[in-house]
Symmetry: C2
Subunit: 114 residues, 2 copies
């Protein structure tokens, strides 16, 4: 990274903080990671994200919808189907989540080798 003045360094570090705040909490990034692999129904997200309860998942989905991270679509099927997807606004997060996953896989190997 090019050398830049300290006020810009602080602004960029604050921006990292802002993103981490949006992605904070135990479940948000796992839900986003699940939706990185495509449009999903509630039950599919529940299956993907180890350890989350239905009650917590519905609260998190409401919060993420309010924060423009995900989009909820109600399909006119019988019975009604509700599906969730990452909003266009959040597309930029997909490579971040992909990189986080890659690093995590390498990190786990490294820790096991120690």
């Amino acid at each position: 990274m090019d050398t830049i003045d300290s006020s810009d360094v602080r602004r960029r570090i604050q921006a990292v903080h802002d993103t981490m705040y949006v992605l904070s909490g135990k479940w948000k990034i796992s839900i986003l990671a699940s939706l990185c692999f495509g449009v999903k129904r509630f039950s599919e997200i529940l299956r993907d994200v180890d350890g989350i309860s239905g009650k917590v998942l519905s609260r998190e989905l409401k919060d993420m919808e309010m924060n423009l991270l995900i989009k909820r679509t109600v399909l006119n099927t019988h019975p009604v189907t509700i599906q969730y997807e990452i909003t266009e606004y959040c597309d930029m997060l997909i490579p971040i989540i992909h990189n986080l996953s890659e690093w995590g896989i390498k990190h786990r190997k490294k820790i096991i080798e120690r």
Copy 2:
């Protein structure tokens, strides 16, 4: 992202969790973000990371050194100088942190426009 079977989705989500665990806590990612801009002394990191105290910074640096995230070098100057840098192992985190920063800057604009 290509469609992949659900056990691999869960493995990748777990890997995202592992990375977020390593980067968790209020300060780690900000300290890494500061070091993304080059080798730094203790006082420089303290200036970069808004709100952190000297005591907390030294504890975090010890923990990050133990987890192979950063390297501490003692220079034979008068007085002695100690500098910190990101380990090669962590180089892959730099683009992640850079993307987190970019997204945070856009997110802040979006929230202000709402």
